[in-house]
């Protein structure tokens, strides 16, 4: 962090650029619940979560935060946080229960009401078209391994653009295609739970194509000046020794550039291993032009880096796990690295480096941090508070990294903390809490954590205050007084 020019050692608040957008994020399946209400169809996540052994403790999104029935609650939380923007996603099977064909007007109306409410409250609606909950009807016909799915997403986007285009302030096409492909089609740890590299390679192209189609549909309908872009989760791969550098590059091609290059350059990376490269038959004339059509911003979801080093698979050290298909190389997490309860190392500098890289790769596009946050072992104390000082420290350190990137000339236009509230954390179920608000899932009650009060200070001041060491029980941490007041 550049502190040059400071005349004393006293840490000072640092200001974000004028117009910097403060937001929070959610996604439909993680918060809405009401999976059978008002004609919603089934998504792959409904099917996946209800199958034994897929989700921790057998949790499902059937109820989640019940946001479908608690719009008032959620908008009030957003109001209290003082955020300028709210990122949410559209449940495709709520709008098109069969994935295509007849519109479910009740489902569409829900989003219409939401965006109107947000605008009334002065909160910019940021809509993600696709955040993982593919209609099961489309999966039954091949899912993302089929080109048809991308075409159906074009139809979905047209419906949304016409119904909501006058109200949505910013559009994200697809969210983290890497996870859909890697966990959904290769590892089987996310819906639809497939372990099929051939299908995965096809899914890569069709998800990107869906981005291209969605972009095209939005451009045709929504007013000029409404920003449109993808949100992705490029994973920093850091080589810890020279020999590991080519492995880190290969992983970067496989997990990152395979999505970045088509969007930013119109081609798949040369370095991508052949079995995961979409075949020529899949790539139709014009596809790459669609995929690489100009975007207005790039959304970055960042949580953690990965470290690669040389290592003996037959004599693994603590913190080492083999890099599949790269004998002699291991993922390494040093035992003394700070981690979140997800087991993810906390390395804010890696966010700075990622922003610098994407600034270069994208030719200076506006970047938004569309997701960043941490899971923590949150609990309500007998005093009624949630003392999530670890989350405050995580957000604080990552915002310092954002400031460093801005200082270095990167156009970071906003930050969306993941998440507004605890929710259904995919295969981890309700165990992992990422929220600024604690959700009591049985009652649906939302309780602001200490971090919510901290975040409100940020949105109000657009300044990053010096972080006071914590934990402490005597109220010297940011937001302490508000947290105490919220109890009574």
């Amino acid at each position: 962090m550049s502190t040059a020019g400071h005349s004393s050692d006293v840490p000072r608040a640092r200001r974000f650029p004028a117009g910097f957008v403060w937001g929070v994020g959610t996604s439909s399946y993680q918060i809405e619940g009401a999976v059978a209400a008002d004609g919603r169809g089934r998504s792959i996540w409904d099917v996946f979560a209800h199958a034994d052994g897929n989700v921790h403790r057998g949790d499902t999104g059937d109820t989640a935060c019940d946001s479908y029935n608690r719009m008032d609650d959620d908008v009030r939380l957003l109001d209290d946080l003082g955020v300028g923007a709210y990122r949410f996603s559209i449940s495709w099977p709520r709008v098109l229960p069969q994935g295509a064909g007849p519109i479910n007007q009740a489902g569409l109306d829900y989003y219409r009401r939401l965006v109107e409410r947000l605008n009334q409250s002065g909160i910019k609606p940021v809509a993600t078209v696709y955040h993982w909950d593919l209609p099961q009807a489309l999966e039954d016909r091949g899912g993302w391994a089929r080109r048809d799915t991308a075409e159906r997403m074009a139809e979905l986007t047209q419906v949304l653009a016409q119904a909501l285009g006058d109200q949505v302030g910013m559009w994200a096409t697809i969210n983290e295609p890497l996870q859909s492909v890697h966990q959904g089609y290769r590892m089987g740890t996310h819906a639809p739970g497939r372990c099929d590299d051939e299908a995965a390679a096809a899914a890569i192209h069709h998800l990107l194509l869906a981005h291209g189609y969605a972009l095209q549909a939005l451009r045709a309908t929504v007013p000029a000046g409404i920003p449109i872009g993808p949100t992705m989760d490029p994973q920093p791969f850091v080589a810890l020794d020279d020999a590991a550098a080519p492995v880190a590059d290969a992983l970067d091609a496989l997990h990152n550039r395979v999505y970045l290059d088509p969007v930013l350059r119109g081609s798949y990376p040369f370095e991508l291993r052949s079995d995961m490269r979409p075949t020529d038959e899949l790539i139709k004339d014009g596809d790459m032009e669609l995929i690489s059509a100009p975007i207005d911003f790039f959304g970055v979801n960042y949580y953690r880096p990965h470290y690669i080093r040389s290592g003996d698979w037959s004599d693994l050290r603590l913190g080492e796990t083999p890099v599949p298909e790269h004998p002699g190389f291991v993922h390494y997490l040093a035992p003394d690295l700070d981690r979140t309860v997800m087991g993810w190392p906390i390395v804010p500098e890696s966010l700075r480096d990622l922003l610098l890289r994407l600034h270069a790769d994208s030719g200076g596009l506006p970047l938004y941090v569309t997701e960043n946050g941490c899971a923590a072992d949150d609990y309500v104390t007998p005093a009624g508070t949630i003392e999530d000082h670890d989350r405050i420290a995580y957000i604080h350190s990552h915002l310092e990294a954002v400031l460093e990137a801005i200082d270095a000339g990167v156009n970071v236009a906003g930050y969306f903390c993941w998440s507004l509230m605890d929710n259904f954390e995919w295969a981890e179920g309700y165990r992992r809490r990422f929220g600024l608000h604690y959700v009591e899932f049985e009652s649906g009650r939302r309780i602001p954590k200490r971090s919510a009060h901290f975040y409100r200070q940020l949105t109000r001041s657009s300044e990053l205050p010096p972080l006071v060491p914590s934990p402490a029980s005597d109220g010297v941490v940011p937001g302490a007084q508000e947290a105490a007041a919220a109890v009574s």
């Binding site: 949790d59 109820t63 603590l318 609990y379 309500v380 104390t381 003392e387 649906g444 934990p471 029980s473």
Partner: protein
Amino acid sequence: MTATDTNGSGEAVRTFPAGFVWGAATAAYQIEGAATTDGRGPSVWDTFSHTPGKVRGGDTGDIACDFYNRTEGDLDLVKSLGLAAFRFSISWSRVQPTGSGAVNQAGLDFYRRLVDDLHAREIAPAITIFHWDLPQPLEDAGGWANRDTAERLADLAQIVSEAIGDECANWMTINEPQVVANQGYRLGIHAPGHTDDVRAAAATHHLLLGHGLVVDRLRSLVPAAKIGLALNTNAVRAYDSYSEETAKVLDAEQNRIFMDPILHGRYPRAARAHMLPPSSLIHDGDMELISAPLDFVGINYYSPFYVKRAAPTEANVQEVPVAGRDDVVMFMPPDMPTTPMGWLVEPEGLYDILMTVTSELRPGCRLYITENGRAAEDYVDPNGVVNDFERIEYLSGHLDAVWRAIRDGAPIDGYFYWSLMDNFEWAWGYQKRFGIVFTDYGTQRRIPKQSARFYQQVATSNELRTGADFELVASTA
């Protein structure tokens, strides 16, 4: 002992002896709250938890589960779970606010009422006289490093036994003295937070002496009482032959340092000298008092310790050096499950401990498992259910170990799950949940977890069914 049956489906039915006691355990500072109510004085844990940086998140036991104000409801809960016994401890500073002298009648009455309330529900009280919450004034006078503290504990036992002695069958003098001496006086991670080997060694002897003096006092005041104590135990395993000698040292310093004086009237030779009390502290007659015959020994068991030769190639911060060696470290065997406490799960360790202790008991001395349980990352799901299958699996495995120990001759009369409900887990605050009942601290609502239903089935049937899927109930509402 009834033989096991197998019903043909791979399900084994483990029937426990008639009269086997099924209970749940708690401790005063962890559940009571009401830290300044009705004349209670401060304990070392009040002071410690209010010191910034000592307890995670700055949590304190000021409120905890508010058991002090919710006794009847919580005992109804114990009853509804089909449990026959409830283990609790006396908050010394509630009964004697300064640790000596004047009795606080309101505090004493609380325990008197508690015992009455238990009897009214046909639940047997199991009382621990000392479960770590030493009155602060006694700590200020030297705490357990001071011999006088042991005498004061005997006085407390007298006050309590005179008030409720006839009505209580099971008494435990002290709980896990090794943790007090080690975490409290040597490592400083528990109250009173000292890091002083000399004081820790003195505390070791004085805790044992306190036990002996309490046994002596109770024998004369409540001759019909069953008297014992609760010792923490860890099965110590050498992962390789290189580490076997070190494992013996660790076993001596972790287990035998309290068990040998109690069972055999001597300190273990294998412990390093600085861990042991100097002979100047050991007065004539002390070891006889300490090793006076007991009616039972209570075993608290959670996890084993593994040690192995340190990998010479790489320092590893998780592999803590053992017993002063730099070439042998604590070790987490890969693929062995752990809990959120970072503790290994190994039911066989409980079996081994029970069999070892059995071989050393005086004839007629019985055993209880006075604590056993695990933390899990529990949460109430949208259906209101806490689906803690990890805890059910832990319970099932460890009850199977208890059953096998009984089959093989261990004189075990009962089992207390730790804990009835989530509570103040010492330096971890409220983060670590051990209960079979979920405590919603913000509202003080109790929500029985699925493990409570499982344990209820075991307790009411006196049978453990292994190999069968426990059928989850749809809702606890």
